[in-house]
Symmetry: C2
Subunit: 306 residues, 2 copies
């Protein structure tokens, strides 16, 4: 085996990591998001290809790799899984292609094949746990329409709903009105109705920094929206702890996703203290899902050779 | 003038009423809903044509009428307004076509050119008022993504969200889970995620009877969902009263839409008592928007001849 490639494709980023047969990182590249669309996996494949090209840029390696494992948001859906698998096989980026989800590869980076709990809050939200006996359970992850509590998408949507209610006089005014209209280049709330009819989940979630800034400046509506998101994350955490338990040794919790990142996640500190209030250990670093994917690829490749 | 046609096209029904030049009803017909889609008004036009054909079925009249006024849900949007207007002109159902909204024609039936307040809760929701000086104001009507509080769409969406939360153990169990899965012919909650990704606003709102039945059988989750919808309607009512006031004489309130209908609306009684608690008069009948459209057509036609 010459080298393996791991890919993490979420709503915001697609990242690729190249490793040698000992799991040592040889290169890394990133490009825009690549949520899998079942009816057209083309843009996902192109994002994966660009990230891989960038990861190989400063090395003497060239594709096909021995194996590529891609953990992609949206690939939990069977139809999407098959569509992206077929398309990546045709891409000839590697001799062997394995499709997984972004959550699974992040979890692998955090806990390997061991037990643990991962709370995810980025564009979407989900909680995932592996018990000591190896069985896995999840909470949330029901998608933007009827799930994603505590996610960036929920924060963005709540902001827009609060703006319309304020416009009507059904709720107090909020600084978000002018900030968000200006950010989107819209004249009025009617324009917002048109925008939201076309906006992607990622575009809605990209409003989060406007809400965290307004909250930092004491906008009460924005503070309420963030509090709602914190309660959403808390709900996921408490439910996953309940259904994955009872635990003999308290499990470690990994926090992942843009809202929970230790460097810049706006909800990181609050969720960290909720985790500690539950007497749980915290994984002392952010998961590196692309590296998790690369190492999982290696495990698969090696175990196949035995 | 031989005859005028009024059309009311909402999420659930398209109704047409034919009147003579004195405003006397000559016929009436109905077919499925006809919310205007800007990119393709064809299905709206076909629904209008079918409703008109049925209204004329037992008369000796035939199109083109002198004038047709269609109050269509979705026609408040400029692009959609133009698209449906062009398409109806080509349809040759009448010498002259006027496009309005379903809310406007319902309001006209309720209050003519006079003042009043109309609270709407059907597939969507909105409140509309005309002050004594003739100026008009609205509350809500921001659409399914960031508005429609107190609507059938909101009730349906909340039901699905409660089901996913219950499935995770993030909230108490609800009878809605089995009822709704069975109703939709789905095996599990994952199927629900697929369904909601494709479902129309009307399909979501059509779940309402399942929730009202479960509430009648004391399902606490369903009762909570209906209470949330009542608060949504209350919010619309109180805001429209505030921004349309101060009123010298307390205005009458018309209740319209499937949730508020006096014969079968599941929220009718609760909202009626909220209206009375505010010391407001109630319009003693359900608006007849297609007749309102026909009479408005007549007014337009006659005033043009003078």
């Amino acid at each position: 085996m010459n080298f393996a490639i791991g890919v993490d494709g979420g709503g915001t980023w697609t990242r690729a990591v190249v490793v040698d047969q000992d799991g040592q990182e040889l290169g890394r590249g990133e490009t825009e998001g690549a949520v899998v669309e079942a009816h057209d996996p083309t843009s996902s494949v192109e994002a994966v290809r660009r990230a891989v090209d960038r990861a190989l840029m400063n090395s003497s390696l060239s594709t096909p790799a021995d194996i590529l494992l891609a953990g992609l948001s949206g690939a939990g859906n069977d139809v999407a899984h098959t569509a992206i698998e077929d398309a990546l096989v045709k891409s000839q980026l590697a001799e062997r292609i394995i499709i997984s989800t972004d959550v699974e590869v992040a979890f692998h980076d955090a806990f390997g094949f061991g037990p643990g709990i991962m709370l995810v809050a980025g564009t979407g939200s989900i909680a995932w746990a592996r018990r000591s006996d190896g069985t896995e359970v999840r909470v949330g992850g029901w998608g933007q329409h009827i799930g994603d509590e505590g996610s960036g998408y929920q924060i963005g949507m709540e902001a827009l709903r609060c703006i319309t209610r304020a416009e009507d006089g059904r709720a107090g005014p909020t600084a978000l009105r002018d900030t968000i209209l200006r950010h989107l280049g819209l004249e009025d709330i009617q324009g917002l109705v048109g925008w939201i009819g076309m906006a992607s989940k990622r575009e809605v979630a990209s409003l989060v920094p406007l809400i965290t800034e307004a909250a930092a400046q004491e906008d009460p509506v924005s503070k309420g929206i963030l509090e709602l998101a914190i309660q959403g994350c808390r709900g996921h955490l408490e439910a996953i702890l309940e259904i994955s338990g009872p635990w003999v040794d308290q499990p470690a919790v990994a926090l992942w996703g843009g809202l929970l990142s230790s460097s810049s996640g706006p909800l990181h500190d609050e969720i960290l203290s909720i985790v500690r209030d539950h007497g749980l250990k915290i994984l002392g670093r952010d998961p590196d899902p692309a590296l998790g994917a690369a190492r999982l690829a290696l495990e698969q490749g090696l175990s196949n050779r035995q």
